[in-house]
Amino acid sequence: MKKLIVFMLGFLLIPASAFAVSVKARVDKTQMTPDDILTLTVSISDADAEVDTSGIKDFRILSHSTGSSFQWINGKSSHEYTHNYSLSPLKKGHLIIPALTLDDKGSSYHTEPITILVQDSPVSDKDSRDIFVQARVNDDLPYVGQQIVYVFSLYYGIQITNPSLQVPDFKDFMVKETDKDTNVTKLIGGREYNVIERRIVLVPLKDGTVEIPPSVLTCDKVVKQGTQRRDPMDSFFGNSFFGRSRLERKVLRTNPIPIRINPLPANPHDVEFSGLVGQMTLSAAMENHDIKVGDSTTLTLTLDGIGNIMDVEEPKINVPDGLKMYRDNPQEDVTIGRKGYAGKKIFRLALVAIKDGTFTIPPITVNYFDVEKGQYQILVTPAFELDVAPSDQSGERQVAPLINEEGTQDKDRPLRIKKKVEYTGHDILPLKESLDGVENRPGMSLAMFILLLILPALGAGGLKAILLYTGRGKSQASLMVRRAEKALKSAGKSGTPEDEFLSALYRAFISMVLSRGGMVGETLTTAEVRNILTKANLKQEDIHEAEDLLNRIESIRFSGGALNDATRKELMDKTRQTIRRIR
């Protein structure tokens, strides 16, 4: 029951905390002349409280208006009620708007008091502090190698445009990186400013006193023309686009910053200095303490802290014989903070057992310079024991590397390293001991080459001679083929008379048909052509075409009809085509 009551009370408290009331008072200027009008805005969130202005004695309240706004941010709603007062100063000097009291449902809330300087002379731009710049470092007594942060801040309570920043060249420092600009709102002396900050990490390179020169900001200030009265529509119509404002060029400089850089003292330890300057911690963990030969375990070293952590090299690790070490790419998780870069660097090392036994990985040490303590510190990990049992597999086992080709670890696979194979020693390769090394292998001589080259030619020539000598039918066929080719060539010559052309075509055709029959002769009838080509196993359609061609040539040849160029060409092509098929 008690638990239930506590729970219910807790539940009821949630809205109270979620909708906590906050009050704020701000002015549009902190310096003015007696003729100026000051605008005081009191805002209260999530409560519509009455403002007690009876405490304002140094100003006369000219007017009072109220407004409200509703916001929904990150799933939370909020109401803000504002009270705007136009105030006229009653005297000169440092006037005070006292802490104002707001009452809401029995609760009282108070604003902060605001001081306003009222004087006769017109307020200069610088004094008005509508816009100003600042530069600072987080540590003006750093050590060599220690990261410090240079912060440039631009404060503006009015509308500005075309800002341009020139930071110094920081010649005595190594500039590590420029972070993204941040943009926040700050309340200073009761006035609300937009603040843009740029952070630059600097690493002093040598000891001594140096001065960071000023940063220079140039921008255009938007000056409203006409009434100073704040109007809700000002934000829209009161800009230069509609011609009711003008731009004033402003050049703002920060103050130079003197810095005294201390040298690093001599390293009093035996352990070599790692080059780390900052504040660090070192932790180590081993994935598995019992493995078998050929298996691996991962040793993880984590350096965590503030400083030049990204520059740190892998600490020296003495791996005993019997283990092989493969390195993964170091993992960095470093961000810029108020004191420079902070984060961690993780070294993962795969240890592969290549023989059984118990192995001890001795403590790993890192010597760094602690900037807070101003002295060198030794970080030490514990020693790790690794028990390696014999492999399940008999015989020698190939040790599988454990990091993949890119040097990164896959989640679903064991780590695997693949490295380019490099020569580790140089020597010539050994003798060739086979007995064929004494066999004489002179290779082909020129005479033998020429002989072998001409032998086939001689053979072909001899065969040709035999064929010619014996006068076998095959040579008659070749004779007729040559005659056909010759006749066709003769027919193809330009300027050949018509009768000679037709005669040559006829001779070419008949000779080719006769060659297929292994015969010689001068003329053939259509029936004889059919007979020869049929015996030569020609296709029927080719035989028909051959018959048609013969009839056509004979018809033109004996009819004496004139041949025009087109018909002559067509007949020539047809004869060539038919002869090719017969062949």
Binding site: H426, D427, I428, L429, P430, L431, K432, E433, S434, L435, D436, G437, V438, E439, N440, R441, P442, G443, M444, L446, F449, L452, L453, P456, A457, G459, A460, L463, K464, L467, K474, S475, A477, S478, L479, V481, R482, E485, S515, R516, G518, R583
Partner: protein
């Protein structure tokens, strides 16, 4: 008949004597070769190299033998003779991986940087010279010619048909490889190369020791041999580096 039988007997005996002599020579070469290997493995490199050279002087032409001689001379510390035998082996088995490795390794130890300006265009155009060894090119030439002539014969027997595109292709390939082979024969006969054997040698402008020293070559460097006169050899290291050195300072590959 009797005379014929007698002639046959004499011929048979002569053949047997030649065979026995050749066999004895072969067995002696084999013994020396094996002994050379044994000496090499025992670390007696100079003796091993001398034995390998002795076998080679008996007329044995074998890339492995030359390779072994090169190895032995290298181990003995004589880079000049090692390069000489590696170069000789490369003429026989240019694509042997062990040989190429050892040759490249020893080349890397030479003091003189090669100024071989063989155009890469030439290497691309005559790519088969780089890819194939000389014997294979010769056999390819013979093979393509044989195919060509066989097809010619078939054509003759087959109604005397004329040559087709494929016949021209075989003929072209046969001619290309034949030309390459003759080029290789020509280079082997008339385009000699040599290796510098002495530690350092001055290449001079003339055939005397008083002649101007033009440049200096070192052991193992390969040079072209253009001429030989009165105990001096005109060598060509590159197109613009020519001079005379003593004959005994180099050895023809």
């Amino acid at each position: 008949m009797m005379i014929g039988m007698r002639r046959l007997t004499v011929l048979g005996m002569m053949s047997l004597m030649i065979f026995v002599h050749a066999g004895a020579q072969a067995s002696e070469a084999a013994r020396e070769y094996l002994e050379g290997i044994q000496l090499y493995n025992q670390g007696h490199y100079e003796k091993a190299a001398t034995l390998f050279e002795t076998v080679a002087e008996k007329g044995v032409i074998n890339g492995k033998l030359y390779y072994n001689a090169g190895n032995a001379w290298f181990k003995e510390g004589n880079i000049g003779r090692a390069m000489l035998w590696y170069e000789r082996a490369l003429n026989i088995m240019p694509h042997d991986p062990d040989l190429r490795y050892n040759h490249d390794y020893v080349t890397g130890l030479l003091k003189d940087k090669s100024e071989d300006k063989t155009s890469p265009v030439f290497k691309v155009l005559f790519f088969w010279k780089e890819m194939l060894n000389k014997n294979i090119i010769r056999w390819l030439a013979l093979g393509f010619f044989l195919i060509f002539w066989v097809r010619v014969v078939i054509g003759m027997l087959n109604s005397g048909r004329s040559m087709k595109l494929i016949d021209w292709l075989f003929l072209s390939l046969a001619l290309v490889f034949t030309f390459t082979s003759f080029n290789d024969f020509y280079n082997a006969r008339f385009n000699e190369h040599a290796i510098v054997l002495v530690e350092s040698v001055s290449v001079r402008s003339g055939l005397t020791e008083e002649s101007t020293e033009l440049f200096v070559l070192h052991s193992g460097t390969r040079v072209g041999v253009d001429d030989e006169l009165r105990g001096y050899v005109k060598i060509r290291f590159s197109d613009d580096k020519i001079g005379w050195i003593k004959r005994e300072d180099i050895e023809i590959i």
